[in-house]
């Protein structure tokens, strides 16, 4: 290359720069829209293999905290089980019209093998995939609240758009009044999210609990999410509330993927509704 005239050499360097830079920018753009394409799937499958190895090295440090969380969740589930079996006893005793629930939520346990909290668009990788019955748009919850939504799935792994993602919005409601609003992360602190579009006439006190709702067919009803912090902000004719999350995304290790058997049926109905409205 040293034999070339300097102007041509500069031009070649510039061309090389443009080529490399455009490859990089195309990668950024494709990846930030979470488009699932063939190249990404191959890369992800290599990535996940590598990540699974590294995560098993780092998993040890959080074992104590994880165990504690599991223990708490077990206790809670056992209490729930007791309550439900009592209810069932009561219902079957006066059995006349049997109303078997046809669609219900089921849970697929999974382990987080990759996680981040310090980016603007955080994602997680879990070690269960389509082979375990996971498909895109399923919700993901942990022992201490909602985690995110499955964005794409390979055979044994799934990628989740975290709640801590500035592009993702969720619906949530105030437990006390049942008013629902939009939950989104402001990209700053990993334990604080914002609940907006709460009408002004709703009385909200600091310390009120925010829970999930099942309008989006993604999460089961009333999974606790967090507490309302003091200092609500008026945005036009709506309130905007700061919410402190119960779950600490930094120590997230085990999650449950929510599978709702009636989701497809219900979506068909809502789609039809939309068409009629048009």
């Amino acid at each position: 290359m040293s034999g070339l005239p300097p102007l041509l050499r500069k031009l070649l360097v510039l061309l090389l720069f443009l080529a490399l830079q455009s490859v990089a920018v195309v990668l950024v753009v494709n990846n930030s829209y979470f488009q699932q394409n063939a190249i990404m799937r191959v890369v992800r499958s290599w990535q996940t293999k590598w990540w699974e190895k590294t995560s098993s090295w780092t998993a040890f440090t959080n074992l104590r905290k994880t165990n504690n969380d599991l223990f708490l969740e077990n206790t809670r589930l056992r209490a729930e089980l007791a309550r439900l079996s009592e209810l069932e006893l009561f219902l079957t005793a006066q059995d006349s019209l049997r109303m078997a629930p046809t669609d219900s939520f089921s849970f697929i346990p999974a382990r987080v093998i990759r996680n981040s909290v310090n980016r603007q668009r955080n994602t997680l990788i879990i070690d269960k995939g389509s082979a375990d019955g996971i498909s895109p748009d399923m919700g993901v919850i942990s022992a201490r609240g909602i985690v995110g939504v499955v964005s794409h799935v390979s055979e044994h792994y799934a990628m989740i758009i975290s709640l801590l993602n500035t592009e993702q919005r969720f619906t949530a409601e105030l437990k006390k009044t049942g008013t629902f609003g939009t939950l989104r992360w402001n990209g700053i602190h990993y334990r604080k999210v914002t609940l907006s579009e709460i009408p002004l006439h709703i009385e909200v006190n600091p310390g009120d609990t925010v829970v999930s709702n099942d309008f989006s067919l993604v999460f089961p009803r009333s999974v606790p999410i967090g507490l309302v912090l003091s200092g609500s902000l008026k945005q036009g004719s709506f309130l905007e509330l700061d919410v402190e999350l119960f779950s600490d995304f930094k120590t997230l290790r085990y999650v449950n993927v929510v599978s709702f058997s009636g989701a497809d049926d219900l979506r068909k109905v809502t789609d039809m509704d939309m068409e009629e409205a048009l």
Binding site: M1, Q21, A24, V28, S116, G187
Partner: protein
């Protein structure tokens, strides 16, 4: 030692440090430790820019694939650093001085000039990195704060690394 072998060994060294240590170091939203930028700054002064960009591309892409986050982010910012390095080097050195220099360092440039060189390179890297990551000016001051804090941290880390591992004693 063969020069290319030396570069490959450095490549692996910085990659391992970034992947196994600095990427997992959670210092909060505002501090993103990325001392791997030093990898490009260690090449000889007269090293061709085209080859420098190819090294940067290879390094950035490996880091993006093995690491977490948006694919291509490190690649884009590192290629820009590689492209601008020789210009920055020309800016901080006295005219004619460049031909006598082997590798940019404290002994050759002096502490002040070398720090400026490192700072400008990190600025080039971080400008691209944080702008691409947020892809909007929606949270301008937030992004700006991340830029400034990470800049200070990384210039410090790079100077520290340079003094500790890559400076020949006289």
């Amino acid at each position: 030692m063969n020069d290319n072998l030396k570069y490959v060994l450095r490549f692996l060294f910085f990659l391992a440090f970034q992947l196994l240590l600095f990427q997992n170091l959670n210092l909060g939203t505002y501090l993103a430790p990325m001392p791997y930028i030093l990898f490009l700054l260690l090449f000889p002064c007269t090293y061709p820019t085209a080859l420098l960009m190819l090294w940067a591309f290879a390094f950035g892409l490996t880091l993006d694939v093995l690491g977490t986050g948006i694919l291509g982010l490190h690649t884009a910012s590192f290629v820009v650093t590689g492209a601008l390095r020789s210009t920055i080097l020309k800016t901080v050195t006295v005219k004619g001085d460049l031909d006598n220099l082997m590798v940019p360092g404290f002994n050759q440039l002096g502490f002040g000039r070398y720090s400026f060189f490192v700072m400008f390179c990190v600025i080039a890297h971080h400008l691209v990195f944080f702008t691409l990551e947020s892809l909007s000016f929606f949270l301008f001051w937030h992004t700006f704060a991340r830029f400034v804090c990470s800049l200070l941290l990384n210039v410090f880390l790079i100077l520290l690394f340079k003094i500790t591992f890559f400076e020949r004693r006289r």
